[in-house]
Every structure is written in structure tokens, then in C-alpha cells.
Symmetry: C2
Subunit: 445 residues, 2 copies
Amino acid sequence: MAVETRRSIGVGLIGFGTIGTGVVKVLAQNAAVIEQRLGFPLRLVAIADLDTETDRGVDLTGIRFDADAERLIADPAVDIVIELVGGYEVAKRFILAAVAAGKPVVTANKALLALHGKEIFAAAEGAGVDVAFEAAVGGGIPILRSLREGLSANHIDSVMGILNGTTNYVLTQMEETEEDFEVVLKRAQELGYAEADPTFDVDGIDAAHKLALLTAMAFGAELTYEGIPTEGIRNLTPIDFELAREFGYRIKLLGIAKCHREDGGERIEARVHPTMVPAGSMLANVDAAMNAIEVRGDAVGPTLYYGAGAGEMPTASAVVADLIEISREIQRGSAGAVAPLSYLPHHLVPKPLVGLDELAGRFYLRFTAADEPGVLARIAGALGDQGVGIESVVQKGGQDSKAAVPIIVLTHRADEAALVRALAQVDELKDVKAPTVVVRIEEEA
Amino acid sequence: MAVETRRSIGVGLIGFGTIGTGVVKVLAQNAAVIEQRLGFPLRLVAIADLDTETDRGVDLTGIRFDADAERLIADPAVDIVIELVGGYEVAKRFILAAVAAGKPVVTANKALLALHGKEIFAAAEGAGVDVAFEAAVGGGIPILRSLREGLSANHIDSVMGILNGTTNYVLTQMEETEEDFEVVLKRAQELGYAEADPTFDVDGIDAAHKLALLTAMAFGAELTYEGIPTEGIRNLTPIDFELAREFGYRIKLLGIAKCHREDGGERIEARVHPTMVPAGSMLANVDAAMNAIEVRGDAVGPTLYYGAGAGEMPTASAVVADLIEISREIQRGSAGAVAPLSYLPHHLVPKPLVGLDELAGRFYLRFTAADEPGVLARIAGALGDQGVGIESVVQKGGQDSKAAVPIIVLTHRADEAALVRALAQVDELKDVKAPTVVVRIEEEA
């Protein structure tokens, strides 16, 4: 190996919240092993954050800390800029400023990259600098490196995973305690597993951001976030978990992307929704706030990557891994040779999304109906009219005959378009008291 | 990115068996995606194998194929040499010849690297060329890249995994069919899951080779294979799987390595043996011929990597990933900046092994004893004498009172040294008819 001696690499950190604090800790506590791998030290020279008052409980000796991000970016002692402010506008401005100053950037900002990645990666390519973002998907799990480098010999067939720790925590808790969504969410917020505004997590938006990045990297598709069908977990109730278990499944919020090779080229299936996976599968056994991503390649077959998908230290682990990789590139006097989205930029081509209405599968359906004679027959009739075959039915009788009761149906394989038509018909029945809850079944997880 | 245009990289393959055939297939079927990631094609220019007769069912148009490995290595059209002949002497000679000719090498040869890696990596470093070996551990799973790059910010605390597909297949089958080891092994051989001489697999030697490589990379320890305590799976019987399940475990052949940080420096615990892991753990759910490796880092916490640990196409996936990475380096005019064993060579220092007799844990013990009054008391007495506490006992009564019966004991946490003394005492009892079978319990898997 051609290891030249370099005194050190200077790192500047913008955004001194939880993850930023983790980065400071990792750089301090693992300075020795990092240098033994890299050949020279990483030196944190400056931190910028609007909040310069809060004590983060870390030693900042020798590190300049103020609110001036622009000064940090311009500082000649800063070789690499870490962006951890989150959000869109400000974060994007800092990243583009760093890139324009010829400085590589490490970020964990999946929302920004999913929506504005095209512009950011184009700017980085133009300036010949790296924008690294391992921490943006799967927290500490080296999933992006694996997809980009470990599986680089493969045509990737599918990527499917538990991409959001908050929702997996809530689902696991609902399953365990048989409590309602709102109760579990409140506790998750108290424990710090969910944010005060949980929308991004529980509605699947965060998972969709991550899936957008994975989809581009897996299939060489131009980065697209808009148009990914996204459903969250708010409609699930304890009975769904109970029935899932009876049928041999567990419920997970999955991001799923598959490549459809067709005559006219490739199209991409991408979607985020609660999913029943076979109880014995690897994904089914991913509990609490952990994440796991399954990647199938034509040569390697199924592979899976598991670990903490969020949190101070796991996410910092990924940020610092990117710092180390970029430091090697700086040492060698070049930007990285591996394209950020795995395919060289001009090979990232628009690939149309496959609509949900073109897919088929098995479905778990929970109807909320009046406990009256003939209801089941009418529901079954609507399904039958559209060619949706019923595999199992469970009707939970209510004690109070006036109350609405759940009727659960497991379908045979059916077209999603037919299901949508059948459910529209069901929703018009006067005995049916609430919209039907649908959980898709993924047998191959 | 500074992507220069290079016409192509020439690849030479030595060893045209199963994996070699897989490499030819992957390079052909995925030529387009590889080029879209790399920017130029990988071109297989020559194959050398003593068997030039067998039809491997792949198209060799434009590829020179003969028995002359030395000519292949010397061929100026060959930029990278793949060594897939296996074994020690010949493989080592080819690798060193390629390195001496300034050509990087890709190999899947864990046995050779575990035993002669020091010499080979030193030669490669001296010549300034890469020796890549992702395929040597975990087949298609990108575990080495993950350990070396994805987790580079971590002090690695432990590595633990199912490193051998053959034994995992046999164990899973024994569990499912309740058949004896010999019966299942024979079927595995017929199905191609086990080799005619299964010693390397079923006695844990192959797993120990892989663990040696993982241990060096995880902990910055000088590569050592000798001295890793290694036990295989020959002594297990159906009753062990039945009891494991009753106690809430599954039995897996694990390679386990942990870093002990002590006052005088670091010592390494490394061992291969059948292990009981909690039934709900990720490792417990790895079935059939699949592999999985769990890596714990101080920042990232537990992570796990799962996939096919062997086989034509999965292993070829890893070989070709290495080709792609090395091709990037050749294009940039340098050898790789990442040290093959993760730590820069002068930071790979000898770290003494922790002896099994220094460890403590819980144990599953199966005694084979005459079905006579007082036997259990004498066994329990021997354990008690040495301070090995009993948590559960199961005695399976035989129909024939003369026959030996199994007595199963689950211990409390105990020193392995005390257990060894107790078992020596037990083995001397005249009622005890066979050596005690010990399965260690790993709660943290």
C-alpha cells in the first residue's frame, strides 16, 4: 500500500445535537484505533451550532466552537465538513457552500438527499469532491457501502427492509403489550424513541426517504422520492398483531423496492407500508428500535444487514466511517472513485415507477362491521365480485350486538387493482362502519 | 469524481472449478451493470486449469484456456490474477508469483491465508499490490469490507458467527428430521452440501480458518490460526436439539472472538464449537446452508451480516466485487489505501490468546450413564465438588434398564476450568459410559 505520511486531517462539524455529540465522542474515544487503521489522526478543529450554550458533556479543548458555520466552511484547517443540522434549506446551503469551497461533505440528512440529492450530487461531481452519507440509511449499518461495493458484481433484484427504528419500536411494543397505537406512541415519546412530532416516522415518510436513496443505488435509477406510495402504522390495532401471529406472520413497516425487467427496459416498484412477513424470517425477528435491510442480487442471492438504525453512537459510527474513507481519498489527492449512488452519474437514468395497481399479492383485511346477520356474506360477495379469493376468515363476535366488530379476511393472491375495487364496494355497505385496514403480505421476506 | 477513461482491465483466472465457473458467469451476465458502476469493462482474457477437458457449460469465446498458470501470470494482458485452485503449496506459489510480477490477486483461499497470510500480505505490501479476499469469509456476504470500512470508527468488541454452511445445513437438518449425524451427513454429501472428505467442515477447521482472519481484522492482532480451540459437531445427537429447544435455545456451530482489554494490553478470546444461542436471536434463525456474522463495536453496538456462505454464484459475487475494487485502484495508478487486515501492517501486533480455562459461562452437559440408582447423585456430587451449580436436570429413562441413558444438566454460570475438573471426576465414575458432551451457552448471541 502506498501510505504517504500526512500530519492529520482537519474536520469541521456543523450541527452539535445528539449525533454531532456522538461524533465528538467517537473521534475522542477511538482516536487510537482510527489512526492505526488510517495512518494519521482525524482532528476535530471546529464546531458550529446556533446553540453555543448547552453543555453536551464532551471535552472541547482545542476545538473552536461558535455559531459561525460559514467561517467553519472557509477555515483552511477544515478539510472535511460534517453537516448534521438536518432540515432542508439551511443544510443544503451549508453543503453546497462546502462543495463550492472544494471540501468534501459527510451528512446523515436523508430527507434532504431524497428530495434534493440530484442537485447536491451534481454539484459535488462538478467540484470533484465527495458527498458521503452512510449514516443516512440504517444508522450504523454499513448498508450503503455493501450495496455500492460489496454487491457491485450483482444485478440487484430487490431491497426490502425495516428502515425506521421508531416505528419498529412501536410495532414491537404494540405486539408485546397489546396496547393501542396512541398509548405506545406516547410512551415511546417519553422514552425518547419517538419525537414530539412523530409524523415523519409513524407515517412512513422517513422510511420512504431512505427507500428513495436505496432504490437509486440498487437499480441505477435517477433519484426520485415523489410518487413512492407510503402508508404508516397509525391504523393498526392490537387485534392485527394477534391475528398476524395466528396466521404465522409478524407485522413490520417495510420499505420495499424491486426491479422489474421488461421488454422496453426496467421499471421500479417502490413502496412503504405495514407488511406481514413470515414469523420465521430474518426480518420478522428484528425487534425494538433495530433496523435490517435485505438485499437480493442475481449472483449473491438474499443477504441481510442488521443493526441500530438510529441513535447517537451508532449514527456517529457511520459518520466517522465516512470521514475515514474520505481522509484516505484526500491523502491520495483525489475524490473517491466509487459513485455516490453506486452507478456512474450518467448511468443513473429515469426508470418509471410501477403503480401499486399493477401489483398482485396476498392481503390481510380487517373490516369493521355491524354485528348483524348477512354482513360477512355481503363483504365476501364484494370480494368475490372482483375475483378476490378468500383463504381464511375470522369473525370476532362482540358482546354488545350493537357495536361494530372486526371481521378479518386473509385473501388468496389477487390483483391489487381488483382489491381496491372490492374495497370501494365494501365501503359503501351500510353495515360497514370504518374504512378497511389493509396489510400486504410479503412471503419472500 | 475523477474518472479517467481506461479501455478495460484484463483478468486472468487460475482454477476453473465451481467458483471459477461462477466468476465466468457473473462477468458475462453482469458485464453491463459492472461497466455502469466502474466506467470501463472487466475483460476475462485467460483461464488456467489442469483440467482442460471438462465442459463447464460457459462460453469461452475470446478467452485463452490452457493449463499454463505461469504463462497466465506473465501475460501482459492480465492486470489482475484470480487464484481459485485452493490448497496450500500450489496456490501460494501462484499468488506469490503474481505479486512478484506486480499483479494484484483476488483469492477465496481462507485455509492458505489463515496459515500463510503473514507471508503473503508481507509480500504484497512489499510489492505495493493488493491481495483481496472478500470471498474467503462468509461467501457472498460483504463481511470483510464491513469490518474494515463500514465499522472503521469502532473499537470492535466481538465477532461471532455461523461461518460454515455445511455444518449449519447438517445441524438444521438434524434438528428438523431428528436423524443422527451420520445419516444427515451422508445425505448432505449426496446433495452436494458436504464434500466427500467432510473433515474441514464438520470438525470446525474451516470455521477456525475464517475466524482467524476475522480476529486479526477485528482486533488488530497478528494473524494466528494455531491455538484457536476448535470443536466440531460429530458428537451431537437428536436429543441435544430436542433439549435445546425445550430450554429455549438452538444449537449452532459458532466461531466466537472477543477482545479482552486488560491492564497490560489486549488479549484475544477465539474459539469454534457448537453453541446454544437463544431461540429468538438473529443467529438462531439462520437456517440451512446460510451464514451470518454478528459484529459488535463500541459505537455501533451489535450488527449482523447474513447471506449465502458458499456456492458457485454467491462466492463469485464476492470475487468479482474484489475485481471491481482493484480495477478502480489500477485506474487511479495505486494500490488500495485500505490495509488488507484493516489495521496498517505495523499495527498488527501479537495479542495473546485467552485460554478456554480462563473463561466462564453456562453449559449444557449430556452425560451417558447406566440407568441405575444413585448415578445422578454421583454426577451432581462431582459438579458440586467443583462449584459448578446445576440449574436444570433432565433424565430420560430408558425402557431397557441395562442400557446407558442420557442425563442432561444445564449449569449456572461456572468457570470452565472448574467444569473441566468436574468432568474429569465424572468420567472416572464406573456408571458413566461415554465422555460427556458439552455445549457452551452464549446468551448474548
